[in-house]
C-alpha cells in the first residue's frame, strides 16, 4: 500500500456519491468527499444531519444503498465489508468499554483478535496506556466501572490506538466529559494525530471543537455536505446561511443588487437603506443578495460618526452582554432586526463600555467583510 501512495497521493477515504436510506428517509444523500492521509477531518453538524450515519458507513456498521455509490478505504471498495474486515479503529461516544474486562484486557482485545503474538501484546498495551497518559501500574488491573469519565475516555482511545490503524474514527468522544478536561483532550488528540500520522475522522456537533482541532471540516445538514473546507474557510467564508449560523454567530442582511460599481455591487435592502459588497461572480443585477457579517467584524459607533468607506445601519442598543473575554452588544436596527456586535473586553472595572440600553447607535462594517451567501 505504501509504495504507490508516495507517487500518487491516494486519499485514504473516498466517498463517491454515497446514499444511505432508512425506509423512506435518506440519512445520507449523494455525498462525495476525499480524506487525505494523516489529516484531522471533522464531520460537523446538528443532530440528525447524517454525520453519524456517515461515520457508520465508514466503520462498516451500515452499507450504502443498492446503487448508493461507493465507499473506498485505502483505495479499496469496502461497501459490503464487515467492520472486522476493514483496517480501522473507532472510539465510541459512550466509550463502549467491555465491563467484564480489566483495562489491560480491554486494550488487548483487538490485538488478541488480530492474532498478535502473545509476547508482543503486553508491551504494546503498556505503550498504548502511556501514550494516553494512563499509568499502567495504577490502571492496568482496574475495571471500567472503577474509572472516571475522563479515564474511560483514555482507555477507549488506547484500545483503538494500540492497533496502529491507518484510520481512527471518533464518534463525539468528548461529549460526556467536563469542559476543562475536554480542552485538554482536544490538545492531546490533535498532538496524537500529528505524532502518529494516523488519519483521524472526528464526528461532532460542537463547532468550537471542530474549529480547534481539524485540518478540514465537512459541515453536514439534511443528509448533505453543506460545505467542506479548512476551519478558516468555513468560518470566514461560509457558503450558506446554515453554515454561517451553525459555525459561530452571524448577522444577516439581504437585498437586491442594484448597481455594479466596478469593484463591487451596491445592494438595496427592502427598507430602502443600502450597503456595498465586494465583486462576486454569482451576482447579477436585480438579483437577490444575502450576506452575513461576523459580530467581531462590526464596529459600534455614534450614528453621526460612521466612517465614509463603511456600510452601516442605525438603531438602538437593546442589551449589553458580559462574556468574559468579549462583550456582546445587541442592537435593534430601525428596520426591526437584531444585530450583535462583539468587542474585546478591555476591563469593565477600569475602562467600562460607554454603551447603555437605549442609546442610539450605528453598526458599521467594511464591504470586504460581507460574506456573500448562496441560497440553500
Amino acid at each position: 500500500m505504501t509504495a504507490p501512495e508516495r507517487t500518487a497521493p491516494e486519499p485514504v477515504v473516498r466517498f463517491s456519491r454515497v446514499t444511505k436510506s432508512f425506509g423512506d428517509i435518506k440519512a445520507v444523500n449523494d455525498i462525495s468527499f476525499d480524506i487525505r492521509k494523516g489529516e484531522f477531518f471533522s464531520i460537523l453538524g446538528p443532530s440528525g444531519c447524517g454525520k453519524t450515519t456517515t461515520l457508520r458507513l465508514l466503520a462498516g456498521f451500515e452499507e450504502p444503498d443498492g446503487n448508493g455509490g461507493e465507499v473506498r478505504l485505502l483505495g479499496e471498495v469496502v461497501n459490503n465489508k464487515r467492520p472486522y474486515e476493514r483496517n480501522i479503529s473507532m472510539v465510541f461516544q459512550n466509550y463502549a468499554l467491555f465491563p467484564h474486562l480489566t483495562v489491560e484486557k480491554n486494550i488487548a482485545f483487538g490485538l488478541e483478535r488480530r492474532k498478535t503474538p502473545r509476547a508482543d501484546i503486553g508491551p504494546r498495551v503498556r505503550k498504548a496506556m502511556e501514550m494516553v497518559r494512563l499509568d499502567p501500574a495504577i490502571f492496568a488491573k482496574r475495571q471500567p466501572a472503577q474509572l472516571s469519565g475522563g479515564q474511560r475516555q483514555r482507555v477507549a482511545l488506547a484500545r483503538a490506538l494500540v492497533l496502529q490503524p491507518p484510520i481512527l474514527l471518533l464518534d463525539e468522544p468528548l461529549g460526556a466529559i467536563d469542559l476543562k478536561l475536554r480542552k485538554e483532550m482536544q490538545i492531546e488528540l490533535k498532538a496524537l494525530n500529528k505524532q502518529l500520522g494516523i488519519t483521524f475522522i472526528y464526528v461532532t456537533h460542537d463547532q468550537e471543537e471542530a474549529l480547534t482541532m481539524s485540518d478540514r471540516i465537512a459541515v453536514m445538514s439534511n443528509a448533505k455536505i453543506a460545505q467542506l473546507g479548512s476551519p478558516a474557510e468555513i468560518y470566514e467564508n461560509p457558503r450558506t446561511a446554515f453554515v454561517a449560523k451553525f459555525i459561530g454567530e452571524s448577522n444577516f442582511f439581504g437585498g437586491i443588487a442594484k448597481r455594479n460599481t466596478g469593484n463591487g455591487w451596491e445592494v438595496e435592502s427592502r427598507t430602502g437603506s443600502g450597503f456595498r459588497i465586494p465583486a462576486n461572480p454569482g451576482i447579477r443585477e436585480g438579483g437577490e443578495v444575502q450576506i452575513a457579517v461576523r459580530p467581531e467584524w462590526m464596529d459600534l459607533v455614534r450614528p453621526n460618526e460612521v466612517p465614509a468607506n463603511e456600510n452601516s445601519a442605525t438603531g438602538k442598543v437593546r442589551e449589553v452582554f458580559y462574556l468574559g473575554e468579549m462583550m456582546h452588544i445587541v442592537v435593534t436596527l430601525d428596520e426591526g432586526t437584531d444585530v450583535t456586535v462583539a468587542m474585546r473586553n478591555e476591563g469593565q472595572l477600569i475602562k467600562p463600555l460607554s454603551w447603555k440600553t437605549g442609546d442610539p447607535a450605528a453598526v458599521a462594517w467594511l464591504p470586504e467583510d460581507c460574506q456573500i451567501l448562496e441560497s440553500e
Binding site: I88, A96, L97, F98, H100, K105, L163
Partner: protein, 294 residues
C-alpha cells in the same frame, strides 16, 4: 376514622424501624409459618424413632442418616444429580438460542415472551399427562410414525429415562430462557459494535462479549433449573413409571406408602445439604471462570 389513619401513618413516619418491620411482616410471617417451622419439625423428626403406622415416636437416633449411605440410596442420589445436571445442560443449550432470538426480536419480543410463559397457564400435572398421551405406545407420536409407515411396531417411549428427561426439560426450559433473556436484553449493542471494529468475527464476538456479559442470566437460569430439578418427583413418577428414579420419589414414598417419616426426613436433609454443596461448588467455579472476571 380518618384521624386514626393519619395518626398511625404519622407514627410510622417517625419510626423507620417500625416501617421496615411492617413491610417485612406479611412475607416473613408466611415464610416462618410454612417454611421455617415445617423444616425444623422435619429436622427433629429425622432424628426420632419411626412410628409403626407412620408418624414418629420419642427417642433420638442417627440410624436414618446411616441408612441412607447404603449403596442403593447413594445410587439414587447420584442418579438424581446426573439427571438434573444433564437436564440443566440441555435446557441451557436449548434455551440460550431462544433467549438470544427473543432479545433481538424487536416488536415480536412481547409476543414471544408471552409464548414462553404460556404453558404456566395450565397445571403442570395436566401438561405431564398430556405428555403421557403423546409418548405412550398407543400415543400420538407412535400413531403418526406408524401411519407414515416409518415403523411397524410402536417404540416404547413412556416409562424410560428418555421420557423423564424430556418431561423435565420441557417443564424447566422457561426458567432457563427468562433470566438469560433478561441479561441479553440489557446488553449494550455498542459493545458488540466495538468488538467488531476491534476485529472480532461473529464467533469471537459471541464467546468474548455476548456470553460473558450474559453469564449472570446463565447462572441464574442454571440454578433455577438445577435446584427444583434435583427435588422433582412428579415428572419421574408419571413419566418414569413407579420406579424410584430420583430422590424426590424416594422421599415421597417414605412419607406415603413406606410410612417411614424419619427416613424420608433424613433423605430430604441429605438432598438439601447436597444441593447446598453443589451450588456452592458451582458458584465457586463460576467466580473463577476467566469469562467472568468481575
Amino acid at each position: 376514622m380518618a384521624g386514626v389513619r393519619e395518626r398511625s401513618l404519622a407514627w410510622l413516619h417517625r419510626r423507620p424501624q417500625a416501617q421496615a418491620w411492617s413491610l417485612l411482616g406479611p412475607g416473613t410471617f408466611w415464610l416462618v409459618m410454612f417454611f421455617a417451622i415445617p423444616i425444623i419439625i422435619m429436622l427433629v423428626y429425622s432424628f426420632m424413632v419411626r412410628g409403626i403406622y407412620g408418624g414418629v415416636e420419642p427417642g433420638f437416633t442417627i440410624e436414618h442418616y446411616k441408612r441412607f449411605f447404603d449403596p442403593l440410596y447413594l445410587r439414587i442420589l447420584f442418579r438424581t444429580f446426573w439427571i438434573s445436571i444433564v437436564c440443566t445442560a440441555i435446557c441451557l443449550l436449548a434455551g440460550y438460542p431462544v433467549a438470544y432470538v427473543i432479545a433481538r426480536a424487536g416488536r415480536w419480543k412481547n409476543l414471544l415472551l408471552f409464548l414462553v410463559v404460556l404453558p404456566f397457564w395450565t397445571s403442570f400435572l395436566v401438561r405431564t399427562y398430556a405428555m403421557i398421551f403423546m409418548l405412550r405406545d398407543s400415543g400420538l407420536i407412535n400413531a403418526w410414525l406408524m401411519k407414515l409407515g416409518l415403523i411397524q411396531t410402536p417404540i416404547t417411549m413412556l416409562y424410560t429415562p428418555g421420557a423423564v428427561m424430556a418431561g423435565l426439560v420441557y417443564g424447566f426450559l422457561p426458567f432457563m430462557i427468562l433470566p438469560i433473556y433478561a441479561s441479553l436484553e440489557k446488553l449494550d449493542l455498542s459493545l458488540l459494535e466495538a468488538a467488531e471494529v476491534l476485529g472480532a468475527k461473529p464467533a469471537a464476538r459471541f464467546w468474548k462479549v455476548t456470553l460473558p456479559l450474559s453469564m449472570p442470566g446463565v447462572v441464574a437460569g442454571c440454578l433455577l433449573v438445577l435446584i427444583p430439578c434435583l427435588g422433582s418427583f412428579l415428572t419421574p413418577d408419571l413419566l418414569g413409571g413407579a420406579k424410584e428414579v430420583m430422590i424426590g420419589n424416594l422421599v415421597q414414598n417414605q412419607f406415603s406408602s413406606a410410612r417411614n417419616w424419619p427416613f424420608g426426613s433424613a433423605a430430604s436433609f441429605i438432598l438439601m445439604a447436597a444441593v447446598l454443596v453443589a451450588v456452592m461448588i458451582y458458584l465457586r467455579i463460576k467466580d473463577r471462570s476467566p469469562l467472568e472476571e468481575k
